[in-house]
Amino acid sequence: MTSAKIVVAGGFGAGKTTFVGSVSEIVPLTTEAMMTDASTGIDDLEATPNKATTTVAMDFGRVSLDEDLILYLFGTPGQQRFWFMWDDLVRGAIGAVVLADTRRLADSFAPVDFFEDRGLPYIVGVNTFDGVVHHDLNDVREALSIDQSIPIVRCDARDRESTKQTLITMVEYAMRQWIALRSATPAG
């Protein structure tokens, strides 16, 4: 029995929970993590006991892919300024889907930068809200300034088939990246 993990990122309201929910066999669950709000030491915390922690919630879904394999999809926390969960999210992940709302493309900058920085393979899913494609996909690529090799696909997070296809594109891309990276590394 083993598991795999894919990260679903994107700005506020980009459709992360909808995306996860459209393929998940469970209603997306929420898990929380905490960080210390004041990390200056015990004295400070004793002085302000109510400010001790900040909670960050993220939701996730589960897809049983075969008898021995469960795929988990993790949506990134809504409050993007709390980055402390992101290492947990990307560690060991196959890759990520960055959902981009064309009306607020700038919201995708931070996740894109994060994944590039960590070397996690990602693709961009352009959520066609209200069926209107506001941007040509090439414009999206330009706006996000991402490499030609990174797939950008249209998707409707509400549609299971669309989500499935987006995930397939991502895993295929991740595998290509993985193989290319390995053959480029002499130590292999």
Partner: protein, 208 residues
């Protein structure tokens, strides 16, 4: 492992999450291709705690064996004995611990887990332990939840505890033989295993 517990650690000395914005040169790896658009925004994820996170413990031997085994489709249960308890984990910095005083009361104040418990790591109740009635209610709940394999994230959600707390509880339950922690295939070790996992995920998705 211990990442949830180290949540505070990565932030030592950082009061305000907003303060790690705009560190210039944070993307040396990005070879300058047209980054101007993105370079101007204020939340630069690549520049914050990741660099300052405590170093990861080296991958454990048992884990690598487990990954090898996983390729042969053998069962990957890890007995509590098979994974060495983390050697000489330094005591958490006081500043890390203090934020967790109340939630960590149920873990006896500890914030470290003895197993590499990723969000997606699967946990199962041990056959031999199904009749056991642990003293701690949280351990009972974990055993109930994990009659079929459940991830660390699911256990945390079911018990309504923060991830860091769930990790310590699961670690304890594994130490006492109540649950088994399955191997997690990660990309860092065992490139072959990770590639095979991706292949399985891909064909699984296509079958959906």
């Amino acid at each position: 492992m211990i990442e949830a517990m180290s949540m505070g650690a990565g932030f030592s000395g950082e009061h305000d999450p907003g303060t790690y914005a705009d560190v210039p040169g944070g993307f040396a790896s990005n070879s300058g291709r047209g980054r101007r658009t993105r370079g101007t925004r204020s939340n630069d994820p690549g520049t914050e705690h990741g660099r300052e996170s405590p170093p990861q413990p080296p991958p454990m031997e048992a884990e690598e064996h487990g990954e090898t085994r996983s390729q042969t489709g053998e069962e990957q249960f890890v007995s509590a004995e098979a994974i060495p308890v983390m050697p000489a984990v330094p005591p958490p910095h006081p500043a890390e611990e203090t934020g967790f005083v109340r939630p960590y009361a149920i873990t006896g104040g500890r914030t470290k887990a003895n197993y590499p418990l990723e969000l997606e790591t699967l946990v199962s109740t041990r056959e031999a332990a199904v009749m056991a009635v642990p003293d701690q209610i949280e351990h009972q709940l974990i055993m109930e939840e994990c009659r079929t394999p459940r991830s660390v994230a699911e256990i945390a959600a079911a018990l309504r505890v923060p991830l860091g707390v769930a990790r310590v509880l699961i670690s304890d339950a594994a130490d006492t033989g109540l649950v088994a922690v399955h191997k997690t295939i990660s990309g860092d070790e065992g490139a072959e295993a990770h590639l095979m996992l991706m292949e399985r995920v891909l064909s699984g998705l296509r079958r959906l």
